[in-house]
């Protein structure tokens, strides 16, 4: 059951990621929608990994807010076509994929070497629940939490300053 879900989700995730990335698809809105699919797939992985709360968060915040924002801007600027943009630079086009493949190859070899055949241990009942995470977040990670909320405020003000025509 879980493996089937994993296989289906991986195929979906990889396919949507390819749509986002490959310059074959020149339509930015399609890319954004593909990215949304990818985000939801990743949320699915989170559910598989019993991180329900983070999964919901991924959908609500990432897919539901951030991606909608991106879509909104795409539609606002109406730059749904990248056709007029010429091909990318020489280095990026040829060396880039090579390096990316090298990156994956390096990681995969090391991961396979060290983790092959490992299985997930049984998770405790409290693992990944809202209560557990909240407990951690408001005790051990309290200062980072406050810092990140400050960051959000700063980002919000900065975004308004940047994007607004007249203040």
């Amino acid at each position: 059951m879980e493996s089937i879900a994993f296989i289906v989700l991986s195929i979906l995730a990889l396919a949507s990621a390819l749509v986002v990335v490959l310059p074959v698809v020149r339509n930015a809105v399609v890319c954004a929608l593909a990215l949304a699919v990818n985000l939801i797939c990743v949320a699915g992985f989170f559910f598989l990994l019993q991180a329900q709360f983070i999964g919901f968060l991924q959908i609500i915040v990432y897919a539901g807010a951030i991606m909608v924002l991106i879509l909104f801007v795409l539609m606002l600027l109406n730059v749904h076509d990248e056709r007029h943009l010429g091909s990318s630079g020489f280095f990026q086009r040829y060396l880039g994929p090579l390096l990316a493949v090298g990156f994956v190859a390096l990681l995969v070899t090391s991961l396979v070497a060290s983790l092959q055949g490992a299985e997930f241990p049984r998770a405790g009942a409290a693992y990944g629940t809202v209560a557990t995470l909240g407990q951690e977040l408001f005790t051990r990670f309290f200062y980072p939490f406050e810092a990140i909320s400050l960051l959000l405020v700063v980002a919000m003000i900065g975004a308004v300053l940047l994007a607004k025509r007249r203040l």
């Binding site: 339509n27 929608l33 919901f56 959908i59 897919a63 807010a65 909608v68 879509l71 909104f72 629940t129």
Partner: protein, 346 residues
């Protein structure tokens, strides 16, 4: 096999989907009849007694109509959009408990489809994904009216989702859990145990309802489909069954928001007063209570639609960001204070 847990879940899904569809059909009739009452006219009364068969006639009409797809539209997305709208609308209902755990066929069956940790989040996730249907529809139609509608819808839904979420957190604070089942269970007994009274969540309730209206794109917040400005907003280019799916999605959203409001603030299926009996008469009564509360909400939805005028777009945004959001924050802080001071016992 027929009553294995998976099968039982499937039965529940089937029942709920059908009930929801039926509810939508009923709602269309109710809406038309009620609007007629409000506007001093008769409304549909030819098909069947009191026009009760009108929805079926409408359904047949939608299915028989020609599907028109604009030539420059993005076909895939254009087709996916209404389906997505409908599916997300229904998903949100899955965490709403419409009754207590009952004894049926010798096993315990919880009258809720999914009961997971963080259940409210499921509803929120589904709602937040609902934006995509509208955005996709608006964009893929390749029409300026649709695009404007889609833009407005996404901005509006993101803005009001904040207030919605924050008003929910008040309830979560009071009950200390994200599971709707437990939230409802805590509101048992007399009606002053309901969160709206016992949890001091009257303000949160009002914010939730207002934001809910905005989330469902109903009047007075129906900017995305403002007929006089945008023809029909994001579904201008839609016709036939695709159009009807948007239509159904809207009504299901109404039902879901109402159900959530009932569940979280008004005690869900709880009767509001103790009764001396238990067993099947009780849970039957409780399901009826749930449906009754829902009906009141839906009635108000319709009432409001045919009574209030539409906001201007900037007023709508101002209300969301400058009115509801600060109010929701204030409500949250107030609630947190009450909980911290043990005024509200959990």
């Amino acid at each position: 096999m027929l009553i294995s847990p998976v099968a039982v879940s499937l039965y529940k899904v089937l029942i709920i989907v059908n009930v929801l569809m039926g509810g939508v059909a009923g709602m269309t009739w109710v809406e038309r009849r009620l609007s007629a009452v409000i506007q001093y006219r008769l409304g549909p009364n030819r098909v069947g007694p009191f026009g009760l068969l009108q929805p079926i006639a409408d359904g047949i009409k939608f299915m028989m109509k020609e599907e028109v797809v604009p030539a420059e539209a993005n076909k895939l997305i254009f087709t996916l959009a209404p389906a997505l709208s409908l599916v997300t609308a229904m998903c949100a209902f899955s965490v709403v408990p419409f009754g207590p755990t009952v004894e049926l066929f010798g096993r315990e069956i919880a009258l809720v489809i999914v009961n997971v940790d963080g259940g409210i989040l499921v509803a929120l996730a589904a709602t937040s994904l609902g934006v995509y249907g509208i955005v996709m529809a608006g964009w893929s139609s390749n029409s300026k009216y649709s695009l404007m509608g889609g833009l407005r819808a996404s901005a509006q839904m993101i803005s009001y989702e904040l207030a919605l979420l924050l008003s929910l957190i008040g309830v979560v604070l009071v009950s200390g859990t994200l599971r709707p089942v437990e939230i409802v269970a805590q509101q048992a007994g007399w009606f002053w145990n309901w969160n709206v009274f016992g949890g001091w969540q009257l303000l949160g309730f009002v914010i939730f309802v207002v934001a809910g209206y905005a989330e469902t794109n109903r009047l007075p917040f129906d900017m995305p489909e403002a007929e006089s400005e945008l023809v029909a907003g994001y579904h201008t280019e839609y016709s036939a069954m695709k159009f009807s799916m948007f239509f159904m999605a809207e009504y299901i959203n109404m039902i879901t928001v109402s159900a959530l409001a009932v569940t979280l603030f008004l005690g869900g299926y709880q009767l509001g007063f103790p009764v001396p009996f238990s067993g099947w008469p009780l849970w039957m009564l409780q399901i009826l209570a749930f449906v009754g509360k829902l009906a009141v909400f839906l009635f108000v939805f319709v009432w409001v639609r045919w009574t209030l005028p539409r906001f201007r777009y900037d007023q709508l945004m101002a209300l969301g960001w400058k009115g509801l959001l600060p109010l929701a924050l204030a409500n949250l802080m107030f609630t947190a204070l009450l909980v911290a001071l043990d005024v509200i016992k959990r």
